[in-house]
Symmetry: C2
Subunit: 432 residues, 2 copies
């Protein structure tokens, strides 16, 4: 490891409900290709963040802190080198960052003096935001404080954010006096007048600083060790566990655009096209409507304004753009227990009924299907050809052929061309 | 046939697009069970009309004028005796009523003096509306005019309807001076002041009167004859072909409720529940919202008002309740070419993908599946048991079993219990 590199830990969490039904438990919002790159091609938040980081901060060595459920999506979307720190279970941001720090230390040879910058992967910000990583690293290297935060210059007295209150409001690096969580608008205005900044979840520190905190909970000698003892780390946010307890905190001011695209209202503002998929808007009677349709039936919208309509194999949402908060709670109650659509390393599946799925296996890819006890999986090949190995016997199948996979069978499917399969999961017949 | 019976012809047309996606080419709006009978059970417009007609006008002998596509739905919903006049192709109301008249004459022994009353089957009106059939018949029998119309007392100067303008506005039976189609609101107010009534498409006349008009186009000796020569009848509405050409027209006034439930706005006013199916409304941010969901994914609605949201296997509609007219045109462009859901005599089908359907065959029912040339139909039994006869050979199948039906095979399926099948229609494999 180069001694002057900057270790950037990108936090890739995501519950999947905030942009439901486009996001789900398997498809977090940061992987949705709803943005556009400079050439106008669809781009996800993950790709955008990593692209801008590599452009604006060439020193950065990236580690993504996430869970196993996102590995396929990352591999499909992100090219080039990056470290991967995988939470064995979802806890909170403090343990996730601690684990990522141990990955940097033990797997990537980071020294206690290495600078670590933690950033959310799903922020939508200007390139200056990514350039500020250099300034954060410089501040840490200059030992201005144990912890250096990026503070966003507020554009309104919002009650949605945490505020960083500096001791004085001049200079490039500001000493932090205190934090105020989600203040009422009057207080927020007051704080802004005194130079307060929004806390955007970007933290910089020396690797050794955080490893010392980890050692207060567990003594470990490797990344694998810490993963095995992950349960012993406190289930708490990095803000509460580290930032608010720190005795020496500084902040750097960032002036550009900064958005959380975690609500339909915010996301729609960045979408280039009001329509996506088989959707029909009545232009004469609709104003400020976005319609996204990933289902195979048409969507027609007329006579409504300031509304997002989103239909996917996970569900259908009709939401006034100002009411995202209410949607979230309702979605938690309404959402399917199993994702209706999932992009996998080998292709994708779409739920058609609780016991029927469409599987698409990409050309050259392999899949190992299995049936649970008392059940059989029946595959009808709708398109494409494949070699199927079933309990050791190999045969070739094409359109119109059926494969029956019983519980306990070992099976491997190799798609010779793009394979489309209709899968029905049945109870075994009586008497079998 | 009793000489004093009244022949009521119920016109059951319906393009299916006005209440799309709940209605479709196979499921006309009048068969949707969106109303409630006196006991609170779901009831369709068809059942309501026939029930009230039988209650309020026991003399009525009913003939339904429709097309073959509605025969299954009628049989499933309507009990008791009724005649069935089937258009061989869709033309317009004049030929449909002419054909029904020939059915009454040749198949049911109607005499030229029999009174015929024509009514739309999809009107939503008070029981007094059905009682007025007796008054219409009395007026025809008294020879007050060749044609007697029911006129609805207007409740507003609407520009949506045709107006019947009487010579004088007093008396039970009004001589008609002229008709005004969709007048501007000012003219409509004027007409209403002078006693004008809305034309609601209810016409009474002697059977011989209409048969004479038929004979101007074709000479036929049977209902079958007229069906065979249906193309020779003019493609024109009954209003233009008969009503406006008549020299002697009278009208009877009807004072009660009268609605066309052909728009979502009007229909929603009669729906008892704002929610149907797996739909979730945020009560705090929604006002006057109706959500109907017949899909198997959840529907969530928040932060919108005065909107109907309807999701079915045919499509998804989000419509401001005041903008029904615009929806219709858009739907005509967007709608699937094949109905996404259809209730059949044997059960129902739901499209899951263009080449995948879910079939549900009711217990004890039979179905004769077939594959088109170059294709094979693959059935996976998901639930239930059946006897399947395939090219003469019979076998029993249950959950997890697969039936392959090649083009040209004869097949009959007899459901021993409620049978649920996932059907995939495939191209034949290369080399087969």
């Amino acid at each position: 490891m180069q001694s002057d590199s900057i270790q950037v830990v990108l936090l890739s969490g995501g519950s999947g409900t905030r942009l439901w039904p486009l996001s789900n438990a398997a498809r977090s919002k940061q992987f949705l290709k709803v943005l556009r790159d400079d050439a106008g091609r669809p781009e996800s938040m993950v790709c955008r963040s990593i692209r801008l980081l590599r452009e604006r901060c060439p020193e950065a060595r990236i580690t993504v802190a996430t869970s196993a459920s996102q590995v396929d999506a990352l591999e499909l979307q992100v090219e080039g080198e990056y470290g991967l720190s995988l939470e064995p279970e979802r806890r909170d941001t403090a343990p996730a960052i601690m684990l990522a720090a141990s990955h940097v230390a033990f797997e990537q040879g980071g020294s206690p003096d290495s600078v670590v910058v933690v950033m959310p992967i799903d922020t939508y910000a200007d390139s200056a935001y990514y350039e500020s990583v250099n300034r954060l690293a410089e501040a840490v290297r200059s030992d201005v404080a144990d912890l250096v935060l990026l503070g966003v210059a507020p554009t309104e007295p919002s009650s949605k954010y945490g505020y960083i209150v500096p001791k004085a409001d001049e200079g490039d690096v500001l000493a932090v006096q205190r934090f105020v969580e989600k203040p009422a608008p009057d207080l927020a205005s007051d704080l802004i007048e005194h130079g307060a900044l929004w806390n955007c979840g970007v933290f910089a520190f020396r690797l050794g600083y955080l490893l010392d905190i980890v050692s207060q909970y567990v003594q470990v000698a490797s990344y694998a060790d810490l993963r095995a003892r992950y349960k012993e780390l406190p289930k708490i946010s990095f803000d509460y566990e580290v930032v608010e307890k720190a005795t020496s905190v500084a902040a750097i001011r960032y002036e550009g655009a900064w958005k959380d695209l975690g609500t339909w209202g915010a996301l729609c503002e960045e979408l280039c096209e009001p329509i996506s998929g088989n959707a029909w808007l009545d232009d004469e009677t609709c104003e400020d409507v976005h319609a996204i349709n990933e289902c195979n039936v048409p969507l027609v919208v007329a006579g409504v304004s300031h509304v997002a309509v989103v239909a996917t194999p996970d569900g259908i949402l009709v939401a006034g753009k100002d009411h995202d908060a209410n949607v979230r709670e309702l979605v938690n109650r309404a959402a399917l227990s199993v994702p209706g659509y999932e992009r996998k390393r080998w292709g994708s599946y779409t739920m058609l009924q609780p016991d029927v799925r469409e599987l698409v296996v990409d050309e050259g890819c392999e899949l190992q299907p299995c049936a649970s006890k008392g059940r059989a999986v029946l595959w009808t090949v709708a398109e494409g050809t494949a070699k199927i190995e079933l309990d050791g016997e190999t045969r070739e199948v094409g359109p119109g052929e059926v494969v029956r996979i019983e519980a306990g069978m070992t099976s491997v499917v190799h798609a010779c061309s793009r394979l489309r399969i209709i899968e029905v999961c049945c109870k075994q017949s009586v008497g079998e």
